[in-house]
């Protein structure tokens, strides 16, 4: 588990535990402002065909100026070989060794395909990528992905865009308990309090996109998420006082030890 002072992904260290997605923003300017306000050092991007009609849509230039590390995702890929190709393109374009493996064949709920994801990760790890798989919150799959060389696992909190928060909390706890690599909750977080809760639970970082992009004031929301992530981490480090379970004693269990 990643208990160090910095977030360590594949040997690279980061101060910020908030990773941001760049989709769904009303404009590139708003997105850049939000990224700046969040203090994030890692942002995901997706691939698309270059459109000569709209050269001002260039994302790469402004992002490189911010100095953030790019994490190209494989969104759009329906299977592992498409994802591998997308990752190669992403690396070629960005020069970044990071890749977020994201394979969701169903266009409605956008749930990640565990089998194609596993295959893609295994292949990409061999090619020296720093692999961050977006995955169902499955503890066994998480260990499988760790075994094939992923740098972290990214279990979903709830389905992309639904904002249902940490509906997978119980599973995420199990993943955290057994994981030797950072656990990053991705997708479904709606409010900064949920990001704080994820950090308190033991996540090493969170990835937030929709909740920031769709907010009334994205830059302010990004800053709020950043604070929440710092707060959650600080709380965990300070040693949270847990909820109290009250047990009722009928007859003493330890009387057999008296006078031992």
């Amino acid at each position: 588990m990643n208990d160090g002072l910095k977030l360590n992904l594949g040997g690279r260290e980061f101060d910020s535990r908030l990773i941001m997605g760049t989709g769904k923003f009303a404009s590139t300017e708003i997105m850049i402002d939000a990224i700046r306000a969040s203090g994030t050092q890692l942002v995901t991007v997706a691939l698309r065909r270059f459109n000569r009609e709209r050269p001002s849509d260039d994302l790469l230039g402004p992002l490189l100026k911010l100095g953030v590390t790019l994490v190209p995702n494989t969104s759009g890929a329906r299977n592992s070989s498409e994802a591998v190709r997308a990752a190669m393109l992403g690396r070629e374009l960005s020069g970044s060794p990071f890749v977020k493996v994201e394979i969701h064949p169903n266009p409605h709920h956008l749930m990640p395909d565990p089998i194609e994801t596993y295959e893609a990760c295994r292949e990409l790890a061999k090619h020296g990528f720093i692999v961050l798989p977006y995955m169902p919150a499955d503890p066994v799959l998480a260990k499988r992905l760790e075994d094939v060389g992923c740098a972290a696992v990214m279990p979903l909190g709830s389905a992309i865009g639904t904002g249902h928060g940490l509906s997978t909390a119980e599973m995420v706890r199990l993943i955290i308990a057994d994981s030797g690599i950072p656990v990053i909750v991705d997708a479904g977080l709606r409010a900064p309090s949920e990001a704080a809760a994820a950090m308190e639970m033991g996540c090493s970082a969170v990835l937030v996109n929709s909740a920031i992009a769709a907010a009334g004031h994205p830059a302010e929301m990004a800053a709020a998420f950043a604070m929440a992530v710092k707060t959650g981490l600080a709380a965990r480090r300070a040693g949270l006082m847990s909820r109290s379970d009250h047990a009722v004693a009928t007859s003493p269990l330890t009387s057999f030890l008296a006078g031992a």
């Binding site: 991007v45 997706a46 065909r49 270059f50 000569r52 849509d57 994302l59 969104s75 393109l89």
Partner: protein
């Protein structure tokens, strides 16, 4: 010479290299990744990559994504 660029068939007159094509289309080579017939052509190899009749070229860049 007919070449498909990003899914659209185009007549490009004389043959040339991939590097020349990008220049001709006024595309900043640092901002795109390119595939020819499903093979990624790294930046360093574009000037040496000669296009042929019927080639399928994909020119890709980043957009916002989660």
């Amino acid at each position: 010479m007919n070449i498909t660029i990003n899914g659209t068939l185009q007549d490009l007159g004389d043959a040339g290299t991939l590097g020349q094509l990008l220049k001709c289309l006024d595309i900043n080579p640092e901002r795109v990744a390119v595939m020819v017939n499903d093979r990624i052509i790294p930046r360093a190899e574009r000037d040496g990559s000669v296009l042929k009749e019927g080639d399928r070229v994909e020119i890709l860049t980043f957009m916002g994504g989660g």
